[in-house]
Symmetry: C2
Subunit: 140 residues, 2 copies
Amino acid sequence: MNRKDAYTILAEYNIKPSPQRMAIMEYLLNSCTHPTIDEMYNCLIKSMPTLSKTTIYNTLKLFIENGAAQMLTINEKTSCYDADTSPHAHFICEKCNKVLDLYYDVEDIFPKSENMHGHLIKSMQVYYRGICKECKKDIN
Amino acid sequence: MNRKDAYTILAEYNIKPSPQRMAIMEYLLNSCTHPTIDEMYNCLIKSMPTLSKTTIYNTLKLFIENGAAQMLTINEKTSCYDADTSPHAHFICEKCNKVLDLYYDVEDIFPKSENMHGHLIKSMQVYYRGICKECKKDIN
DNA sequence: TTTTAAGATTGTAATCATTACAAATAAGAA
DNA sequence: TTCTTATTTGTAATGATTACAATCTTAAAA
């Protein structure tokens, strides 16, 4: 595996490591499901019984401020989180509700310059919605 | 003005008109600010004192189900709404929090086919974040 | 016209994600 | 060690959204 570990990533973004921060970053890196706070909490509490949900909120806020993660506001009810900060889009399946990464075509989507109609563009998010490959099978 | 009126739009989307529905669609059409439920309520209550916030929620849900409006989940706290269902992106200013429409370049962004990596794409949303033209002036 | 049934609107109460806050704990410097 | 600061934690508050039951409207049937 060529993925960097949690400790290295935290260091890269100038985030002082702590057991909680490491565990949360670790979880984000190992999950490809774009977890919600609750999902993280329910899993991590098993190996770290003193963990508080507030800590997860605080930690993710810190990660985002330092550029180590991004918040996805796909769902109007619950935010979910992604430690992959490289340019990519997200596909949300209306049947199974999974959130998948889409790297295809993304180069075309991102603005060539940081300026667009005179506005300064700092970041962008692209959400596709539909039926995923797997769920399409079930329908046929 | 070549914009269609609320009555015509409701008819087009098979939504039975009512004073409340007309007023809400009217408001959406006349505002270019992508209003939240609260903004709509606070304005409409003046001319329609019996209006309930629940009705606004119900009505927008109906509009969305029938394709007459879309919900923008730009903000993690509050959804906002847009009666413009033509393909366009949204720019959110981090300073003044305004949500602006961006039609530029959008053709490039939308998928050429309805298929992408085997997934069926039904809709897409594009959110840019940054500093808008006006707020940039204030900084300099 | 009156009756009736379905649809639309309303207000209140419940839900639930997120945040505020203050106390407890951990880490690091002196 | 002691002192100071950063981090974590639990509880309580906030606030958007939804559930639900009661009321009002509409329009068709009798």
